[in-house]
Assembly symmetry: C2
Homo-oligomer: 312 residues x 2
């Protein structure tokens, strides 16, 4: 009888680990450093050692364990092969097989971290009860994860749900991190909002609290709450891009719900007031009545989703 499952979320600085019962209650969570040197060759052995140690400590046998799920910051295909994870120094390799060798007899599942976090929000977070869901993480960049009939949509090469790289502006002169120009991420992420703010301040003579202090997405949305006119214009522009981008996503996968997380989502549900107008204006009518909700699991979405992968 399987009673436990581990969820692992590999980041560029730390690896988050969680021990769950099979109903999804978290029993323990902790972190270990991500050793990215030497092509990241220590990362999997470190994870394996930490899991074996925890199992010994909690008196959990391999027979008790449903398995270990791992979220990776890069494309991972449906068979558990990592295609690349730049921040970890990893190239292409079969993670499921390699970690399986280190943890002999234990079932391993692997997926892209944004997709895995989406699965976490679907299982125990803002998307509970919605079998067709899109998770949108508005952080430094924009991450996306798509759940169709309760399962992650990984895509052909693990690049499914890369909604931050939908092209939304033909006139962009600056380059996106991906090398293209005019990606949604350049306007809808925390970095993108800061760029929009910088441009708006340059283009306008209007007084604004944003002219003092450091520019950030948080500063913009704080100023919005205080009624700052220029900040409201910036938020409208942000919402215009994001609404159009999410409208395109909805034309493709027709979800029941968008679950919005990441640092920018700390602005709260007020965010939706800026996204909805452009969304509703541009989306196909069959997807107009979508729900916008906030993500609930924060940085733990990854370990939840990783655990859920094993239980599916």
């Amino acid at each position: 009888m399987k009673s436990h499952v581990f969820g692992v979320d590999v980041g560029g600085t730390t690896v988050k680990l969680g021990l769950f019962d099979i109903n999804g209650n978290v029993l323990d969570k902790w972190e270990i450093p991500t050793r990215t040197e030497d092509g990241g060759k220590n990362i999997l052995p470190d994870i394996a050692a930490s899991i074996l140690e925890k199992m010994a400590q909690k008196n959990i046998s391999k027979e008790d364990l449903a398995g270990v799920g791992v979220g990776v910051p890069g494309p991972v295909d449906g068979s558990g092969v990592v295609h690349k994870a730049v921040n970890l120094g990893w190239g292409r390799f079969d993670l499921k097989k390699e970690l399986g060798t280190l943890l002999e007899g234990i079932r391993i599942e692997a997926g892209n971290d944004a997709n895995v976090a989406a699965l976490g929000e679907y299982w125990k977070g803002g998307g509970q009860g919605y079998n067709n869901m899109v998770a949108v993480t508005l952080g430094t960049g924009i991450g996306g994860g798509i759940i169709i009939n309760g399962e992650i949509l990984s895509g052909a090469t693990g690049a499914g749900g890369e909604i931050g790289h939908i092209h939304v502006d033909d006139d962009e002169t600056e380059e996106c991190g991906c090398g293209n120009h005019g990606c949604l991420e350049q306007y809808g992420s925390a970095t993108g909002i800061t760029r929009l703010a910088r441009r708006a301040l340059q283009a306008s003579d209007k007084d604004s609290v944003l002219r003092k202090g450091e520019l950030s997405a948080k500063a913009v949305f704080d100023a919005v709450k205080a009624g700052d006119e220029l900040a409201i214009e910036i938020a409208e522009k942000f919402g215009d891009y994001l609404g159009k981008g999410l409208g395109a996503v909805a034309a493709v996968v027709n979800p029941e719900i968008f679950v919005i997380g990441g640092g920018v989502s700390k602005a709260g549900e007020a965010l939706f007031d800026y996204i909805r107008p452009a969304y509703e204006k541009n989306v196909f009518h069959g997807s107009r009545n979508v729900i916008f909700a906030l993500a609930l699991l924060g940085n733990d979405a990854g370990i939840y989703g990783a655990a859920k992968m094993v239980l599916d």
Copy 2:
């Protein structure tokens, strides 16, 4: 032992029907008129009668039959409920149940016609062997159908794959059939190409064979083949919109292949030369190496896909 399956494609003027063996070889195909009067109440009884007649004629018993699949020109959800089919006069009703009552003891499956046609191309057409595929029908409008892991992506309300209504132009003044402005369909469909041509002829003084005779997508691509400069500019504009739109689709679902069908696709693989540049420029790198292929089944894609729904 099930030996046969029917595929039915309900159109606004005719209903196409096909009898297949369970390996997907078509044994017979025929059409009946679509009687749309009185809210389309005769359509299902007509289909049922035609199927029963064919079974009698071919000496096929209910026990021999795997079932009947039906493609409908409107949203159909995962449980076989039609949400609306304007061209047939149909509102919301449970097609699976109603046709099941008319054909007692026979398994019924139903889906949106564009999605079902995509399944046909996946099974026996241009997408054979590719489990993650997007079918794009460039006809009067733009239809889309998305296959993920070999299955149709229907979406929450049956509006999955409505890629013709991705917003691609902020400056559009004319209304799309859906009521929005700037949908991909307004530039990439046969009607859209004609619009682009009309605008280009008005905006330019250039000589062009398109100034004589009737404007149509076919006329434009015939002129492209003849080296007509203005026609080439129109084709480039068409390809620019379509490449960007399909780039957005790829950022969401990351397919292995796009299978392009519909009247416009009669221009052949030359079409891809116009789509690829904008696609490659704007798509996320993980989806750059996608395959573009032509649809192979023409108007029969619907009956193939409808039959396949039953066999899945």
